[in-house]
Subunit: 211 residues, 2 copies
DNA sequence: ACTTTGAATGTATGTATGTTCAGATTGTGA
DNA sequence: TCACAATCTGAACATACATACATTCAAAGT
């Protein structure tokens, strides 16, 4: 039973089980935040959702606050990872990269109820708990620089007059952020494809020849 | 001492004092949310910030949760009030209204650290506490309809091709929302006038002849 | 087979928190 | 001036909560 094919390489059964529980705790904590809000995400709630024992959090994360921090980092990492793949792809033209970044931002992998709710939860305490900032900011730390470059490329290619790469980037980022907000507040009525059309509509109005 | 000139009409000293304390509680609760986050906005924290007694919350709002709800409603009301003044002004042309709505949204009266943090706090729990939705949604309930009308007016006036009032409105609202998010996350570096330029830049790209 | 190691559990403990309420204080109307 | 009623207070209470830790259980090593 040393190799069931389920666990990652280099992990024996015990380590595998432990890492699975860790992962399960992260998911359950996120679910708790989603379901009960930040305030209601108590150890008891996480325990109930996970089905794991009370002491598990202490074992894996020492404190509940550490667990929450890990949830934020986990979310942030998976976002950055996917986003970087698009940005660093050498085969894609600038306009296509921009389009894909927009589409990625609107894809259910990230723009889904639970994750967005969790993003908003951590953001809501970004002042009172500065530790959260690091994870939250990773969303736009390097993203902005890359997008400015992309926009500048489009501006050069299209010979757009009065265009400003920085303003366009900030506008587009705000647009995407605002779309997340709209989704968060109105998930029931939210129309994903319409949101995409809206974003591309703005992109087209900025770069008519490219979209 | 029945008329110090400070209190509203029709209120005697006792009523005046009571309503002042109520107001003070609302402010202190908002301050507590801002300083300590939603989770840290405990009665003890509110008590310390307000300097009022512990039992005061019970007297004015019965429960702490009611107080929080009142904070949300208060915020929402003052936003709607100001916004409606612009929207209903019969003397302003459509483009000017749109510009003023944008400027109002970015003015320190609303786009300030404390209030934005409090908005985000309530939004973060919009799923787990459906009561909050009502207050939070008032921000965009009727706003959207008015803006669609304004955009349609501009489109008709400017004979813009391929223009869509609804998409433009959703884009602009998302843009403003996203700008709030940017402010919330990066208040230190946030440049208000640059944000305004960004928003007007997008507006101009949508309606070149009007901005 | 035996020992050792580490994961997992759940009760115990003390602090933090929201609410209640009996009493103190103060403005109001008679 | 006095009695009443309303505002206001803060200690008392019960509950909720996170953490600590002694114990159990299972896998790994020898």
């Amino acid at each position: 039973m040393s190799d069931t094919g389920q666990h990652e390489e280099g992990l024996n059964a015990r380590e595998f089980s432990k890492s699975k529980n860790r992962r399960h705790l992260l998911d359950s904590a996120a679910e708790a935040i989603f379901k009960h809000g930040f305030r209601g995400a108590t150890i008891a709630a996480i325990q109930e959702i996970s089905g794991l024992s009370r002491g598990m959090i202490n074992l894996h994360f020492k404190t509940k606050e550490n667990l929450l921090l890990a949830v934020a980092e986990d979310l942030s990492n998976s976002y950055s990872e996917r986003w970087n793949k698009v940005a660093l792809d050498p085969d894609l033209p600038a306009a296509e990269k921009l389009r894909r970044i927009i589409q990625l931002d609107l894809s259910p992998d990230f723009l889904n109820r639970r994750d967005v709710a969790v993003w908003f939860a951590f953001r809501s305490e970004v002042y009172s708990n500065p530790e959260y900032r690091k994870s939250i900011d990773s969303r736009d730390a390097s993203l902005r620089d890359v997008m400015i470059e992309l926009c500048q490329t489009l501006i050069d290619e299209g010979n757009y007059l009065d265009a400003d790469a920085e303003l366009a980037t900030d506008g587009l980022i705000a647009l995407l952020e605002g779309t997340w907000t709209d989704f968060h507040l109105h998930a029931e009525e939210f129309d994903r494809s319409k949101a995409e059309r809206t974003c591309l509509y703005i992109a087209k109005s900025l770069f008519p020849d490219h979209f």
